[in-house]
Each structure stands twice: as structure tokens, then as C-alpha cells.
């Protein structure tokens, strides 16, 4: 059930100069959260940040009653979130949105670009409960931006591309050799990252006849289907990324 609730900041773990994981402790019992769900976090100490900011849930720890978010500093809201201190209170609306399909067998390819890795630790943990083989393919401009590979190695095979060739294969993640074979070994592809990357992955998936889900990012005012600002054109008309998504089957999108 969706709730508006205060959380207490426990810690920030900085992964590089602009990316951190923030862990928050719930003040009530943590709601059930599925991979792909997101939360709207209120950032209250700046007149420039009027609306809440949506973040994909990175991880949950039901035993510790904590939730964490993967945050890349891109503007005033994310900067202020990085400046919160242990013990500060943050108000969340959560859990929001739908979630990824969790297959119970076969081989899943996860493709993430930049901060698109955010939902996939939780997803990786969920699919690992089943006899599913997981391959994680990550792309970024440079090696500094490839983070959390150790955490993902515990959940499956990890492949990397960087545009400057500083780590893994050189070039765009969509051109990685794992995607360039005539026959791909995957039964299901999930992806999150820049639109251009997701569109390219969706095209490959369609060509190869592999089911594919994407998690979309969009500018939102509310996050729960009231404002109709975060629409995306689909075969069912304009749908809200916040309530009909953020996860969409690519066949549904007008890409």
C-alpha cells in the first residue's frame, strides 16, 4: 500500500564524486517493495526544489527495516540529498509504480547505462531465488562511472563497456559483443538507462524475438497518477510512467 512516511537517514556511501547510496530507516514497518518500484523523496530546504524527486529503490533490508537509493548528483535536489546528515528526517511517498517481471527459469540479460543500474541489485536478488542465469551488462563513458560490479558479481556474470575503453570493451554498451551474435542466448532482457540506449536495446530484442522490459525515467510532479505530466506514448494511448510504469514491455511503447 502506498504511504507517506518519515524515514531517518542512516548513512551515505559515496561510490565516486557524484554518485552515492543513501540508506534510510523506516519509522513504521517497511512496506512490501518489488524490483522497479520507486519512491518520491521530499527535499524541503531549498526554494529551488519545489517538487519531490523520484528515485528507483536500490535495495531493501526488511530485517533492518531499511531502504536505500542509488543517487547521482545532477541538480540542486540530488545535491541537497547528498548533504543530508545521519539522523536527518526525509519524507517519502512509497512504494510507487509497477515492477519488473521476475522469470523463474532461463537466462536473463540486464543492460544498464550510467545510473540505470539503480533498480538491478534488488532485481538480481529476486531472480536469484529461482534457477535463473543472470548476465549484467553495464555501460558508461569511462571506468570511474562503472560502480558496484562486485555486488553484481555475487548475483551473476558481469560484462562492461566504456566509451573510452578504460574498462571492459571499448564503445557503446549497445555494441557489446554479448549483443552482436546472430543467436543470443537470452530468454528475457531488462534494461534501464538513457532513452537512446534503451531504444537500441529494445530494437535488438525485437529483432531477435526476445521479450524485453524497460524502466523509464521521466519528469514527474506527483508520482502517483494525479498530474498526468510524466506520460509516454504507448499502443494504449498516453500512459503515466509513474503508475502504468515505470516498467513497460517494449512492444507497448511507440518506439
Amino acid at each position: 500500500m502506498k504511504k507517506v512516511e518519515d524515514f531517518i537517514v542512516l548513512n551515505h556511501k559515496w561510490l565516486n564524486y557524484k554518485t552515492f547510496i543513501i540508506e534510510l530507516e523506516a519509522t513504521e514497518k517497511l512496506q512490501d517493495i518489488h524490483p522497479g518500484n520507486f519512491a518520491e523523496i521530499a527535499i524541503t530546504n531549498s526554494p529551488k526544489v519545489f517538487l519531490r524527486r523520484p528515485f528507483s529503490v536500490y535495495d531493501v533490508n526488511p530485517a533492518g527495516n531499511t531502504i536505500s537509493f542509488f543517487v547521482k548528483v545532477i541538480g540542486e535536489g540530488t545535491r541537497l540529498l547528498g548533504e543530508t546528515k545521519k539522523g536527518d528526517t526525509l519524507n517519502l511517498i512509497y512504494p510507487l509504480g509497477n515492477s519488473f517481471t521476475v522469470p523463474v527459469s532461463g537466462h536473463v540479460l540486464v543492460v544498464a547505462g550510467g545510473s540505470g543500474v539503480a533498480p538491478f541489485i534488488l532485481y538480481g536478488k529476486e531472480i536469484k531465488k529461482h534457477p535463473v542465469k543472470a548476465t549484467f551488462l553495464f555501460g558508461a563513458r569511462t571506468a570511474d562511472e562503472i560502480v558496484l560490479t562486485d555486488q553484481f558479481r555475487a548475483l551473476g556474470e558481469v560484462l562492461v563497456s566504456t566509451e573510452d575503453g578504460s574498462l571492459g570493451e571499448k564503445g557503446l554498451v549497445t555494441r557489446h559483443s554479448a549483443l552482436s551474435k546472430d543467436q543470443l542466448p537470452y530468454d528475457f532482457i531488462v534494461t534501464c538507462g538513457p532513452d537512446a540506449m534503451m531504444k537500441a536495446i529494445a530494437k535488438i530484442a525485437k529483432e531477435k524475438g526476445i521479450a524485453c522490459e524497460v524502466s523509464m525515467e521521466n519528469t514527474m510532479a506527483c508520482g502517483f497518477g494525479a498530474c498526468l505530466c510524466c506520460i509516454t506514448p504507448t499502443t494504449r494511448g498516453n500512459l503515466c510512467v509513474c503508475t502504468d510504469g515505470p516498467v513497460f514491455n517494449v512492444n507497448e511503447l511507440k518506439w
Binding site: M1, K2, K3, V4, A42, P47, K48, V49, F50, L51, R52, I93, N218, T219, M220, A221, C222, G223, F224, G225, A226, C227, L228, C229, C230, I231, T232, G237, N238
Partner: protein, 304 residues
């Protein structure tokens, strides 16, 4: 016990707190967060005659203490509203007030006539800020002649309480209020959003897909309050005030400026339970100030 009841024309609301059209969906979207039955009224999402997909993305730009939107009345049309949406929300113990839109006078008449035949709906809010396709897209509500025409045409076919929502993008909002009251409005709601633009200086592109959009949020509150006051002095019908109300203090200011009731808009996005908190805040204020009936606050700004 304080008395929170207000009268909007011949309609009694249990309290003056309602939610603005387009910011509260059809009420159901908020049912997990609050008890919508406690509201005085719900102004539901704008309806048009036909299904509308709305404007292209991006539809929203955050601005200093506010936001611009260009949603463009995305909705599935009046028949869907009457046959599918209304039956699912009519059980709410509050007034459901549809917000009526049109691209032509004929559209307005058709939508209003269809609602007139629905049992249980006792009021409509006429949005005259819509672009008039026959006048090159100029909004009905910024021209006195077309504002009067739209109001009169709907008045002729709609028998319930007719609330006309004014556009603030006019030279004299008091004159527009007089014009729509003369044309048959039973009450006035104001203000709709202010036209604005947001630009990304790096890309040199407008942020909204439609270039211009409607500004809402606390950034507009002082102007909205002034407009409510202007209208209060100009007409005798009840006023439903709105524009950047974020808390009970803001709501009380709108009552003091001349509103009989208020609508909460953009604040619903930030705290989906804010309307109930505002209702409780008004009640606490009345107890503290020893005010028996909330109607005593309407236009009670002390000037001298």
C-alpha cells in the same frame, strides 16, 4: 464545536476545503493517502466532449516555488466520465463537481447538457480558459464577449449550480467576474494558472513541449489573493479561491480576501494528504480565534 459548513449558491458543503481540477484526478488516486469523504467537494479532472490524448511530453517544468504544466486536458471524454468514472466515485460522501471544457461553444453545450442529465451531480465548474478553435486558439476566458457567450450557452442548458472558473490572464479580472455573473454564473472560482515559459539556457530550448504552460504553486499566491479581493468587491456571488495554497494559513488568507471556499491544487502533488491537514488547520485556527462559523471569515480582512 465550530461550524465549518459553507453555502455555494444552493449547495451546502460540509466544509470549505476542496481540491482543484486536474490536481486530484478523480479522487480515487488519493484514497490510499486520505479519507476523501472528509472534503467539502472534489473538482474532478477536466472533461471534454471527445477523448483527448493531451499535449506532447515534456508537460511540466519546475520553477521557483512553483511549476508550469501543459497537460492539455488529457481525458477519455464525457461519455466515459458519465458511464465509467462517475459510477466508481459517486459513493464518496462529498460533492463531485466535474470541470467542463470545450473547443467550441457547441462542445460546451453538449458536455453540460449530458452532465445535466446525470443524477447526483449538483454543480459543474466551467473552465473558460480553453483555447477557442474558432477564434484562432484564443482562450474563451480572456475575451469578454466569448467568456459571456460560453457562460450564457451553458447556463441555458445546465440547471444545477454553475461555477465559472476565471482565467487570471486578463486585464481586469473584476470585469470578467461581472460579465460571467451577468451571463448566469452562480459562483466563481479563481484563479486558473498564469501563462508562463521556462527555457533551458544551455540548449536554448523551451522546457515544455508546447512552449507556454500554466504556472501554479506558491509563486502565484499573492497575485491570486489580490484577484480574489478584486472579484469579491465586484460581485455578490460566492467565490471559491485558489492559487498556491500550501497550508491552512494560506487557505485562511484566501477566505479573508473574500472566498467562501477554497481549492487546493499543486500542493496535492507534494503531500497527497494535505487537504485534510488544511481542513484540520482551519478548524484549529477557528477555535484559537474564537470563530463560530467559517462563513465569518469570508472577506473579513481588516482594512483600517
Amino acid at each position: 464545536m465550530v461550524n465549518l459548513e459553507v453555502k455555494i449558491h444552493n449547495l451546502t458543503w460540509k466544509n470549505p476545503v476542496s481540491t482543484a481540477s486536474g490536481t486530484f484526478g478523480y479522487g480515487e488516486e488519493f484514497a490510499e493517502f486520505m479519507d476523501v469523504n472528509r472534503l467539502g467537494a472534489i473538482f474532478t479532472k477536466g472533461i471534454t466532449l471527445e477523448n483527448r490524448e493531451g499535449n506532447p511530453y515534456p508537460r511540466m517544468a519546475e520553477t521557483a516555488s512553483g511549476m508550469l504544466n501543459s497537460v492539455g486536458l488529457q481525458n477519455k471524454g464525457i461519455d466515459h466520465y458519465i458511464n465509467t468514472i462517475y459510477p466508481g466515485i459517486r459513493h464518496y460522501d462529498t460533492h463531485i463537481i466535474p470541470n467542463v471544457n470545450g473547443s467550441t461553444i457547441e462542445d460546451y453545450i453538449t458536455v453540460a447538457s449530458k452532465i445535466n442529465a446525470v443524477e447526483g451531480i449538483h454543480a459543474i465548474e466551467l473552465n473558460i480558459s480553453c483555447p477557442n478553435v474558432k477564434a484562432g486558439g484564443m482562450a474563451f476566458g480572456i475575451n469578454p464577449k466569448t467568456a459571456a457567450e460560453a457562460t450564457k450557452a451553458v447556463r441555458d442548458v445546465y440547471k444545477g449550480t454553475l461555477i465559472v472558473k476565471l482565467s487570471p490572464n486578463v486585464t481586469s479580472i473584476a470585469d470578467m467576474a461581472k460579465i460571467v455573473v451577468d451571463a448566469g454564473a452562480d459562483a466563481i472560482s479563481l484563479v486558473n494558472t498564469f501563462l508562463g515559459i521556462a527555457i533551458n539556457s544551455e540548449t536554448r530550448k523551451p522546457i515544455l513541449g508546447t512552449i507556454t504552460g500554466g504556472l501554479s504553486g506558491p509563486a502565484i499566491k499573492p497575485i491570486a489573493l489580490r484577484m480574489v479581493w478584486d472579484v469579491y468587491k465586484a460581485v455578490k456571488v460566492p467565490i471559491i479561491g485558489m492559487g498556491g495554497i500550501m497550508n491552512a494559513t494560506d487557505a485562511i488568507e484566501f477566505l479573508l480576501a473574500g472566498s467562501s471556499a477554497i481549492q487546493i491544487g499543486t500542493a496535492n502533488y507534494i503531500d497527497p494528504a494535505i487537504s485534510i491537514k488544511i481542513l484540520e488547520g482551519i478548524e484549529e485556527y477557528m477555535i484559537r480565534q474564537d470563530i463560530k462559523s467559517v462563513t465569518e471569515l469570508t472577506g473579513a480582512m481588516k482594512i483600517s
